[in-house]
Symmetry: C2
């Protein structure tokens, strides 16, 4: 039985006001991202990866930019990111939490 | 660009006080389950499936039973369900929301 209790772990810092923690199986990973520092003025630089991704907005309002299109999502909303597609986010609220699922596992998040 | 806005869809009813909605890519699915009716007294009947699963507890307190082991999880916690392993849940709160990721896609949830 493998689980992560939020109150028992130290999230991995991505710099001031940003962190993540995760769990994974052989071919599936779930990552919780907490943003407390924006980006507010403009989106993060876009990035892409060969993994399929689905994001669930757990809190906050978040603008997604995917291949030139923009949508603003709110808690309870979900969005897909196809493999290899350029994407980024911008916060429309002070803080936000995203729950991202990936296939396959993001090996770059391990260790 | 594919997304689901919670306020624009009608969740699929699983009976009184239980519903789900989902989104998926080729090999990945995310499903939001809302429980407003328990089970409070005892767990649901256990079930299993060949899919890898990871659950994120979005709200409520939920007891997971996996192969005879029990753990109570709270918002922000995550748990893995290996393929083919018997598992079930019991609510420790009036309501709960679970965000479940699956690989591969749960074809039984489509259509």
């Amino acid at each position: 039985m493998e689980y992560v209790k939020q109150n028992e772990i130290e999230p991995f810092s991505l710099g001031e006001g940003r962190s993540r923690y995760h769990i994974h199986t052989d071919n599936l990973m779930m990552v919780v991202f907490d943003f407390e520092d924006g980006p507010y003025e403009k989106p993060n630089p876009p990035h892409s990866h060969p993994h399929e991704q689905i994001s669930y907005i757990a809190s906050g309002r978040v603008a997604y930019f995917i291949e030139g299109e923009k949508v603003v999502l709110e808690p309870g909303d979900m969005i897909t990111i196809p493999p290899g597609v350029s994407h980024t986010v911008q916060l429309m609220s002070e803080k936000a939490r995203l729950v991202d699922a990936f296939h396959p596992v993001r090996e770059d998040f391990l260790g």
